[in-house]
Amino acid sequence: MEKVNVTIDGRTFEAVKDKCVLEVAHENGIYIPSLCYNSEVTSSGGSCRVCLVEAHQGGRMRLVTACNYPVRKGLEVKTDTPLVRRIRRGVLELLMARVPDSEVIREMAAAEGLTEVRFREDTGENERYKCIACALCTNVCAEVVGVYAISMINRGADKKPATPYLKPSDVCIGCGACAYACPTGAITLKEKDGVRRIWGKDFPMVRCSVCGTPYIPEAQVDWIVKRTGKDRSFFDKCPDHR
């Protein structure tokens, strides 16, 4: 793999060419906030804009999203300039106004010294409360799970993740990967009496034959069996008792 030298906040590091700035920074202990990016999901990132940093290259400065800006030879990144701070605060203030109830956003904003919102707060529909329309859930479902049960619908401020026609999805396997990935915890996943409820649909769970704990939706087992040809009996026991 080709390596290049890149400078971040005055320190120079060797990094794999085309790796994103955010990962190179984190590997080297430099913090850049992020919400919509997950290193396991190549289609994620670029949407929330909290990771904007200054990229100096070829005599030119641009504000770029660290989560998908590739490191190339001679790149110099600045993560802590007045411009970066100003825009990051601005983005967080908008997010706070959008999802006033989100702890994650409030904490991230507080770290930037931001506690008050000067705009009208959004008191929109509950389902979108906490959702920052970052599309990480839909990207995870499509790219990692490979199921395409949800997609981003609508435009502008009404953009949100949803199942087709807002009806319980035919293909969702109830795996919950979307909910685990969501940066703001906006997707509700409830489990009760061996049944998991997510995206408006109930998924009966398989119980571990040893401890009796319901641990995986039947639909997910069906799907893995179909996809990988694994033996169904493998799922009789939960990972702890296999």
Binding site: G46, S47, C48, R49, V50, L52, L63, V64, T65, N68, Y69, P70, L83, R86, I87, G90, V91, L94, L95, A97, R98, R118, F119, R120, I132, A133, A135, M152, N154, R155, G156, A157, D158, K159
Partner: protein, 620 residues
């Protein structure tokens, strides 16, 4: 006919067409404009009427009449337009009933039907000759060179007019030479950003790849602009020829024309043109026997403004959702299907054949230092002549509005122009001597954009204008990134507050802050340019913002919450017209006595002002 298989063969074919045309040179020709605008105004029945009268009178025998239907002349407001040759007369707003008279007078008698020709609103002078009409006289048409004079569905018309000669010349050139020629011409992209076309081609050429794509952006999302539609409908071969030349220079074998979904006629005429070009051996395998193969497919637009943005467009062509993506790796390296791709706008492509044919020096001799050649503008708003105009870059705003546009409607005061489409900016009258080119418009806080120019008069409220465009952008934001998705609605809130009298001193500062955030923080060009309407109006019309905020007044008399209607007792004759028309029935007064408006019931609809013939209704 068998495909033409050599460059010489094309020239021979052109000579044959020219001889046939020569033999018919004196024959009258009737050209009925068949652009979308004229068709909507009834061009179809007019053409039908011509056919009927000509058949009935057996005119074929004595004057041998050819009827052609053409693309949009750009003067749609006066459509249907009918041009008669060889006299070069242009008739406006022609109705089927006018046809017998035109045939009798003009075609048979050689006389002009005066009531149907252009009449200058200021001087009352009549102008019959097409090329003498002020709207056309000051134009210099390159991209629109054939529009209105050829039948877009007849490839022979295009070839006869010199079409595909640029391609023939290019096929004999070195690809490198073609790219240099385009570079030296100074041609900059007409789709908005004004990126030098030659530079883009050169960087694509520098990337190693077996597969390359050339794309044409015909999405034209700016609601006020229609030059791309006009070219695709009226002269599709000019775009196709430009793309073949580009493909040859770049070594591409597949191209796509992305056409806005609302443009069915453009799709139809492009499809006819593509098929005809294939039949003639100008497109497809082994073009003109050169060994070079290239074909073009049409791709229908995704129906949103943002689909015209390059990364969204490429995703849409590839069958994905038309949503922008960060362009940290340029599309000349990784574009459509991750292959090196050159995307240019319709008008950009249409210029290419002429540049190759006549040379870079010829093209670069027009325009300004940084913006060469001509540009098509769509001139609309409060101006006498509206439509598509092509002029050399560098013409001043004032020349455009006054000479070509014929001045502001109704003799009102010229206040500003808005340029560049929904995310362009407003430039005040006092800067009207500014030359129109990419760089001066950007410096002035606006942009060239697609070339939309909206003329505004003294009765336009600039805060309301900013609110109007922001509202459009709120609806068109794709919602992918935070600054645009959540910032634009906040900007709209603040502007609405101001226009409704709730604005405070802090509103303007907050607006400026949000604009800064959009400009730096948004993902795609929609968001990064969305601040222009707000910032340019704050910059040039700050006094109007202050009047709304401090005095709670709308100086232009537009913002309903801040105005009241009253009747001037001195001017009112008591004719009762306003009282009869008021939907609220809140105007009272005896006949022949001054009337009074009950402001508590008035809904500020403005009907009374519109109907009053004595100009007695006042707004304050």
């Amino acid at each position: 006919m068998a495909p033409i298989d050599s460059i010489g063969g094309l020239e021979a074919y052109r000579r044959k067409l020219a001889e046939a045309a020569e033999a018919k040179a004196d024959m009258p020709t009737v050209l009925v404009c068949f652009g979308t605008g004229c068709q909507a105004n009834g061009a179809g029945p007019v053409a039908e009427a011509f056919r009927k009268v000509i058949d009935e009178q057996g005119l074929k025998l004595d004057v041998n009449l050819g009827i052609k239907t053409t693309g949009c002349h750009g003067y749609c407001e006066n459509g249907p337009l009918v041009a008669i040759r060889p006299q070069d007369i242009l008739y406006l707003k022609v109705k089927p009933e006018d046809v017998p008279e035109i045939v009798e007078e003009t075609i048979k008698g050689g006389r002009t039907v005066e009531r149907l020709v252009y009449r200058d609103k200021a001087t009352d002078e009549v102008v019959a000759r097409y090329s003498e009409i002020p709207f056309y006289k000051h134009q210099h048409r390159i991209a629109l060179r054939h529009i209105g004079s050829i039948d877009p569905t007849d490839i022979d018309d295009y070839i006869l007019a010199g079409g595909y000669a640029g391609l023939a010349k290019a096929l004999a050139m070195d690809p490198e030479e073609i790219v240099s020629e385009v570079e030296r011409s100074g041609l900059r992209g007409r789709g908005g950003a004004g990126f030098p076309a030659g530079t883009k081609w050169r960087s694509c050429l520098a990337v190693e790849s077996d597969v390359r794509y050339v794309l044409c952006n015909g999405d034209e999302g700016d609601p006020g602009a229609f030059m791309d539609r006009s070219i695709m409908e009226g002269d599709p071969h000019s775009v196709i020829e430009g793309m073949i030349i580009g493909a040859f220079a770049l070594g591409s074998h597949q191209g796509y024309i992305y056409v806005r979904d609302e443009y069915p006629l453009a799709v139809k005429n492009l499809s006819i043109a593509l098929e005809a070009a294939r039949e003639k051996g100008l497109l497809g395998e082994n073009i003109l026997g050169s060994g070079f193969s290239f074909d073009i497919k049409i791709s229908r637009g995704g129906g949103a403004f943002v689909c015209g943005e390059s990364s969204a467009l490429m995703r849409s062509v590839a069958g994905e959702v038309g949503e922008p993506r960060a362009k940290y790796i340029r599309s000349v390296e990784k574009g459509l299907y991750d292959k090196p791709t050159v995307l240019n706008n319709v008008e950009t492509w249409a210029n290419v054949p002429e540049i190759i044919l006549k040379g870079a020096d010829w093209y670069a001799s027009m325009g300004t230092e940084g913006s060469k050649g001509t540009k098509v503008f769509s001139l609309v708003g409060k101006v006498n002549n509206t439509g598509l105009v092509e002029v050399p870059m560098g013409i001043s705003i004032r020349e455009l509005v006054e000479n070509i546009g014929g001045g502001v409607l109704g003799g009102k005061k010229f206040k500003a122009v808005q340029t560049g489409g929904p995310s362009g900016g407003c430039i005040p009258e006092r800067l009207a001597d500014l030359p129109i080119d990419f760089d001066s418009l950007t410096e002035a806080g606006s942009m060239m954009g697609s070339g939309g120019i909206i003329v505004m008069d003294e009765e336009t409220c600039m805060v309301d204008v900013a609110r109007y465009f922001t509202n459009f952008l709120v609806d068109e934001s794709c919602g992918k990134c935070t600054p645009c998705r959540d910032g634009l609605p906040r900007i709209l809130d603040l502007l609405t507050d101001i226009t409704e009298g709730r604005g405070g001193e802090e509103h303007v500062a907050l607006l400026e802050e949000l604009c800064d955030l959009l400009t730096w923080g948004a993902l795609c060009g929609l968001g990064t340019s969305a601040a222009n309407p707000v910032l340019s109006t704050i910059k040039y019309f700050r006094d109007e913002y202050d009047a709304h905020i401090r005095d709670k007044k709308c100086p232009a008399g537009v913002c309903k919450a801040l105005i009241t209607y009253s009747i001037d007792p001195e001017a009112c004759t008591g004719c009762r017209l306003c009282a009869k028309n008021c939907p609220q029935e809140c105007i009272t007064g005896k006949r022949k006595e001054a009337h009074v408006i009950d402001t508590s019931k008035c809904i500020k609809c403005g009907v009374c002002k519109d109907v009053c013939t004595f100009d007695a209704v006042r707004i304050s």
